[in-house]
Subunit: 370 residues, 2 copies
């Protein structure tokens, strides 16, 4: 059923990197996914894919291009997780789905990272039960990139919806994980971390934020990141910080509010340009400028929420991704795989925790003098 030249395993001694792809479940279907993979293969000679889904659909798509034929291994999966499948149902009955198989390939060491544009809730739930949490991590998080005024053009925000709660300790771990993610995705040496709150004064906000604030001041001693203190909603797209740390409830609402607002402004802009003959002419002249703006805030260029804190790397591509979006998600997964995301995160979480316990012991020895 498969005709792969080199079904490279996991890390591959050849220097190749194998990614596991869930080709089903996106809004635009498997053809768009295969087209994105083809683009990615053209750019990177070291990439190999395990592609999960309906082989009757995928084989003919792969047959069209030599690169796909040579560097993809199609793995048949009869079932699909749909966009409206309930995560709890998928966890119990999802074993035959392409999503399950795609995650399991990472679990089994066959691939270094997984990419899916399917149902986010189901993907998170499956990743949790199949990959399990990293040692020392209490709550995994979903990190996203957000258009900003920073030179890289984007900030990282997490958690944007893995969990609706976060204790102070979780927020500190988010900071550590977000800092590492920003180092890779935004190529920053020492990312600046901000803690999302309703004001920047020390006395403001919820109790767990004050505790996290103090813990972050201390954890910043590790040198792994710079801590800039509290930031507000208006700072999310700003140049004040590189990483915005918050709980998954607030983060999800902020993310969707931002997306909704940007969509409204852009729709109103289109309306404004359609209003008269003169404005239509102007929009023609402004076309390249408007395209430039669109490119600047194009979600396809930064496609992919990343699940952090698991024994394996999973990238969630937008459900409505086209080939460019899929390619961006694949590129991100590749970068994270090369950097050994899970291993590095586990190491950092452990070292900061050790430092904290060490400090606590020293505090006890000296009677917690301040």
């Amino acid at each position: 059923m498969t005709k792969t030249a080199q079904p490279a395993k996991g890390n591959g001694d050849s220097g190749n990197i194998v990614l596991s792809i869930d080709a089903m479940g996106g809004d635009k279907g498997p053809a768009m996914v295969m087209s994105g993979l083809h683009k990615a293969l053209q750019r990177n000679a070291r990439l190999r894919f395990l592609v999960h889904g309906d082989s009757a659909v995928l084989e003919p798509l792969a047959a069209k291009h030599r690169l796909l034929r040579e560097r993809c291994e199609i793995r048949h999966a009869a079932d699909v997780v749909t966009m409206d499948s309930k995560p709890s149902h998928v966890m119990r009955h999802g074993k035959g789905t392409s999503m399950w198989a795609a995650v399991d390939a990472v679990r089994d060491g066959e691939a270094r990272a997984c990419v899916s544009c399917g149902n986010t809730g189901a993907l998170m739930a499956l990743s949790m039960i199949r990959l399990r949490k990293l040692p020392g991590v209490n709550r995994p998080a979903i990190a996203c990139l957000w258009p900003s005024r920073n030179p890289a053009g984007f900030n990282v925000m997490l958690d944007v919806g893995a969990d609706i709660r976060a204790e102070a300790e979780d927020l500190v771990q988010y900071a550590l994980m977000g800092a590492f993610y920003a180092q890779i995705a935004l190529e920053l040496e020492k990312p600046r971390i901000g803690l999302l709150n309703v004001g920047t004064e020390e006395h403001k906000g919820r109790a767990e934020l004050k505790v996290a604030h103090d813990m972050l001041l201390e954890a910043a001693q590790s040198g792994l990141f710079e801590y800039v203190g509290y930031v507000e909603g208006g700072d999310i797209p700003s140049a004040r910080t590189d990483v915005i740390v918050t709980d998954g409830f607030t983060g999800n609402i902020a993310l969707k509010t931002g997306e909704g607002t940007a969509r409204l402004v852009s729709d109103l802009l289109k309306q404004a340009f359609r209003h008269s003959i003169l404005s239509r002419l102007a929009s023609l002249l402004a076309l390249t400028s408007l395209l430039r703006l669109r490119r600047r805030i194009d979600p396809r260029r930064v496609n992919g929420g990343v699940f952090l804190g698991l024994n394996g790397t999973v990238v969630k591509s937008h459900g409505s991704s086209d080939a460019t979006g899929i390619e961006a998600a694949v590129r991100l997964a590749h970068e994270l795989a090369r950097a050994d995301l899970p291993g590095q995160l586990a190491h950092r979480v452990a070292s900061v925790e050790e430092a904290r316990q060490g400090a606590a012991q020293v505090g006890q020895l000296y009677g917690n003098q301040k």
Copy 2:
């Protein structure tokens, strides 16, 4: 010191409405405030103002225009609440400030509503201690208007920052207060209420949201509003709902995220248009279109957060308001004063609470059968 033709009291038997104005503390100074008041007086013959602030500054400004001379009474206040004053400090030591005097004029029945463009936190704190909460209201809220796809062009959101917490009961009161506010500000007969959450499915979100969801389904029986269920961040600027109900922490972050995102998009748009000669030409041609867009989402047109749930009406105008913004805030205060906001809110809160207790008693009588 004052030269008012008719220092009309509170409601005034003349049919005039008196508003109390804090003329100090905004970013653009008292001259801008007086200019806004002048605009408002030109439009409405029934308006009278009590203007609080430094009379040495205000008297000469009022002297310039006949309408201001005739229909403003200047009340001298030596001190000013600055933008960086701490609310707790203002509560203890703010007695000589124009903000304090402006709120007290509502408390004492001299004016029907108060407008200030000063420090939000201090204004909220002062309003709380001087006006006190309405009977039956546990947590007052700040409501704002948000550009949306609805015919009115705006939605109402609350709480956007009066309190960082909200229990289920508070969220139900926010719904009642927001519905009434939307009736007045957006001229809607039966506003639709949405409860902000991270998903629209029944099982999602925090525990207090599930309780509030059930309570709102019941409270909607009152006929005072329609309840559309959970809404997400992306629905805040949508036509799915007229009022978005949330706690003050989430609401404040969503509000500032939306503002920040809109500002980023508009700045990037400007950059795009400045990029080349052709795009500069296009921007000239598109000028009216762009101005139309700007007008559509202009915060000045909907200027004013409103404090709901107090024994008196207080409108917070943007700190950076110009004359148009001040005028909009004054017009809003005038509408709310005419509608007797506090009286109506107290009545509604009491009637829904009665219905709830009645239902609970009936439930007890029948052994809480379901």
